[in-house]
């Protein structure tokens, strides 16, 4: 299609359309121009440069900062290995698609801009080393994972499951997790609550479909109560009252309180997602398994659940994204030093107080969340297309 035809078809189809186009173009142009001015000219980004460490890792002790860097490198390497294993499996199954350079740019440009931004704002060598190590580790892991023989696949997957726990203990060795801050604690709470809420959600979903009335009642009660309750009120309550529910010697710290609430809350939503997946598995699967004389427990865990969980991967990613965004509530409700709380604090206290630098700070934080949420939702759409959910 030639340029003029494209313009006529997409922008100037009639008099009304043309007027709309011109007006919208003027408004968009003005907003874009102001945004570019803000980012490159008028924005005073010193506040981010000075407080970068606080925003990323809170008050993590300087001597132990290499632990954070090493953890990031390990995490990206393991992620690369997993991606490689998945690719290898798809190659063997004949479902792999070729990834072009353009695809990679299309998938990861927000992450690339994010890394570039953080490096531009940082004032030491550490972040450069970490970035180089993480990218190198991810790429090397991706190719190594695809090249290793099948015998390595199971150890790699098991290792990947153990890694988060190992890294948490490694990091907690530098500073106890109840003192963690910055976006590190947002990520920690989101991942921790997701991992813990997963079994809870699966069992609640199975319970809600059970034929036994008592089990069904308990599961339904749990799911509906936590889905009807506002997360913020639950967090406020946990902040002042969670220690009353357990013996005095078990009184939990702030991060644990947050994880308990997020786990219970997410578990209820996870249960509804898994229930949707269970309903999407055809009845004939269960009937076929029964005709093979499998026991009910085996039917559930070997036949029905794997198919159900596969179908709801995208919905689970969506739940993880909203959990990740909701971790900001922990700052306001529990006084946790997470990234939004840090951002509000640095604009109102210290050297930058009263200089109205909230737009700069919040734009930075919003962009961090946007990169994570946007990339994850795009990747999950890709997985959805690959699995062909809804197309079979």
């Amino acid at each position: 299609m030639t340029a003029t035809r494209w313009l006529r078809h997409n922008l100037f189809r009639g008099p009304v359309d043309s007027v709309v186009t011109v007006l919208v173009a003027l408004a968009t142009g003005y907003v874009l121009w102001s945004a570019v001015q803000f980012v490159f000219v008028t924005g005073r980004w010193e506040i981010i440069e000075v407080n970068l460490k606080l925003l990323m890792v809170g008050r993590y002790p300087d001597v132990h900062l290499p632990r954070v860097g090493i953890s990031l490198v390990i995490a990206s390497t393991v992620g690369g290995l997993l991606a490689g294993v998945v690719h290898r499996r798809q190659l063997d199954a004949g479902t792999a698609t070729r990834t072009s350079a353009r695809d990679l740019v299309d998938r990861f440009w927000p992450v690339a801009i994010g890394i570039a931004m953080l490096l531009a704002l940082s004032s030491s060598v550490g972040p450069w080393l970490v970035a180089a190590g993480s990218i190198g580790g991810a790429v090397a892991g991706r190719f190594l994972g695809a090249a290793l023989p099948r015998a390595f696949h199971l150890p790699i997957v098991v290792g990947a499951l153990i890694t988060p726990f190992a890294l948490v203990f490694y990091l907690a060795d530098g500073q106890g997790w109840n003192e963690w801050g910055g976006i590190m604690v947002n990520v920690f709470i989101a991942i921790g609550a997701t991992i813990l809420s997963f079994p809870l959600g699966v069992f609640a979903a199975l319970g809600r479909r059970s034929k036994l009335p008592v089990i069904r009642g308990i599961s339904t009660g749990y799911i509906e109560l936590f889905r009807g309750a506002p997360l913020f009120v639950l967090l406020l309550m946990a902040g002042v009252a969670l220690q009353l529910f357990v013996p005095a010697e078990l009184a939990p710290g702030r991060v644990i309180r947050a994880i308990v609430v997020f786990t219970l809350f997410t578990g209820a939503y996870m249960a509804e997602i898994v229930r949707g997946g269970l309903q999407s598995v055809p009845r004939s699967q269960e009937e076929a398994a029964r005709s093979l004389a499998l026991s009910p427990v085996r039917i559930t865990f070997l036949i029905v659940l794997p198919q159900a969980l596969r179908n709801v991967i995208p919905a689970q990613v969506g739940q993880f994204i909203s959990l990740f965004k909701d971790t900001t509530l922990a700052g306001a409700a529990l006084g946790l030093f997470e990234v939004l709380e840090v951002g509000t604090a640095i604009t109102q206290q210290g050297t930058f107080a009263g200089q109205e630098l909230l737009p700069e700070t919040f734009a930075f934080i919003a962009f961090l969340f946007w990169i994570g949420a946007y990339t994850m939702s795009r990747e999950s759409q890709r997985v959805e297309r690959k699995l062909g959910v809804g197309h079979r």
Binding site: N10, L11, R13, D17, V20, T21, V24, A25, T28, L212, P213, V214, I215, I218, E224, L225, R227, G228, A229, P230, L231, F232, V233, L234, L236, M237, V240, A241, Q243, L244, F245, V246, P247, A248, I321, K325, D326, T328, L329, A332, L340, T344, T347, E356, L358, P359, F362, I365, A366, F369, W370, A373, Y374, S377
Partner: protein
């Protein structure tokens, strides 16, 4: 396999009770129930003993104690009991929820339709709106709308913005025009206008059905409605109360506090981004054949949208829309962060003033769960009315 003698008879006889499925089922359920009850009893006992140790009461007697804090923008005084403070908080929650649901639905529908526009610029602008707002934390938008917009970007009262001389926008809040006169008369007038409009529409439709000619249904209906509203307007002697700025004092109009503006604005633009996706998905979920069939019947593109596609899309959109409305109601508790006195903030402050924490928060949670149940009952009702009657 060779049948053992007596196998037939054995199948009929009852198995021993520890292998009887019916017995096992009940034993299993009783065991789980006992475990859950024991766990809850353990929690309750912990709360009791821990509260006694620190000396906090566990009952609901605190509801009659004086609240000891005032609530801005209301007639609530600090000598009134906690019970009344909770009612004021609930009213404030509902104020955000109801107005927010209406505004978010309108904005979200516009953006959702914009995402399917034939105009490349409009389509991508709508997409940018959705992809930006959906992927950043709601709390960040709320805090920014309060600290960044309502308190700092808005001018001081001396040089307030007065767009079209209709509203007064300053960092002391937004004052919008109000209706002067009996609100009930207007509500009644609108109700009568809707009823009459419906009757007229039916009458014109029957004419159109009989004669086969265009009976200008929309025109007739609108004319009837507008006429009745105008008559009520003048009969009840209405006037628009437009706010005016004199020096540093605003007279007339309705004042929205910066806190109310911030929470409402943030909730609306955030929820609208989710509603837009629902609207878009629902329109795209209507089978292509429907639009093609309508086109082959000679309907114009506007008629296709209004008569064929939107009614079917709306049916698909109702359940997820209901979910978004529930989310908006629950997210209104974030108003507490910008000191908007809704339920969560009222509860939190009264707990800080000495009300026992566990009963207070359980009460607030119960109110929200009841609110959720009412909202989802309404959505289910709408869903049942709209659902396709299957053959």
């Amino acid at each position: 396999m060779k049948a053992r003698p007596g196998a037939h008879r054995g199948a009929r006889a009852r198995p021993p009770f520890w292998r009887d499925v019916r017995v096992l089922r009940w034993a299993y359920q009783l065991a789980v129930l006992a475990a859950v009850v024991a766990f809850i009893a353990w929690l309750v006992a912990n709360v009791r003993s821990n509260s006694e140790e620190i000396g906090i009461p566990t009952g609901y007697g605190y509801l009659d104690n004086p609240a000891q804090f005032p609530i801005p923008d209301s007639s609530f005084r600090q000598t009134q009991p906690v019970r009344d403070a909770i009612v004021v908080g609930l009213v404030n929650t509902l104020r955000v929820t109801i107005i927010g649901i209406i505004a978010a639905t309108i904005l979200g529908t516009l953006v959702g339709i914009g995402r399917l526009s034939g105009n490349w610029l409009v389509r991508n602008l709508a997409r940018a709106y959705v992809e930006t707002l959906r992927n950043i934390p709601l709390l960040l938008i709320i805090v920014f709308a309060y600290l960044g917009l309502a308190l700092t970007a808005f001018p001081r009262i001396e040089d307030a913005w007065q767009p079209l001389d209709l509203a007064v926008i300053s960092n002391r809040g937004v004052v919008v025009p109000a209706l002067d006169g009996s609100a009930w008369a207007l509500v009644l007038g609108i109700a009568i206008a809707c009823g009459a409009g419906w009757l007229v529409a039916r009458w014109r439709r029957s004419i159109a059905d009989r004669s086969g000619r265009n009976a200008h249904i929309l025109l007739w209906t609108l004319a009837t409605g507008v006429a009745i509203v105008l008559v009520t307007w003048f009969a009840a002697d209405y006037a628009l109360d437009i706010p005016e700025l004199e020096g540093r004092i605003v007279t007339g109009g309705i004042r929205l506090s910066p806190e109310y503006f911030a929470i409402l604005f943030a909730l609306v633009i955030y929820t609208a981004s989710h509603i837009a996706e629902i609207v878009r998905g629902s329109i795209q979920a209507v089978h292509r054949g429907q639009a093609e069939a309508a086109a082959s019947l000679g309907l114009s593109s506007a008629q296709r949208l209004r008569l064929v596609i939107l009614p079917q899309a709306f049916r698909i959109a109702v359940p997820p829309l209901g979910n978004q409305y529930l989310n908006l109601a629950k997210n209104s508790t974030l108003g507490a962060v910008v000191s908007y006195y809704e339920l969560a903030l009222v509860t939190s402050i009264s707990v800080g003033n000495g009300a026992p924490a566990v009963p207070s928060y359980l009460l607030t949670l119960t109110i929200f769960i009841v609110l959720s149940l009412i909202l989802s009952a309404l959505v289910n009702l709408a869903n049942r009315r709209l659902a396709l009657v299957e053959r």
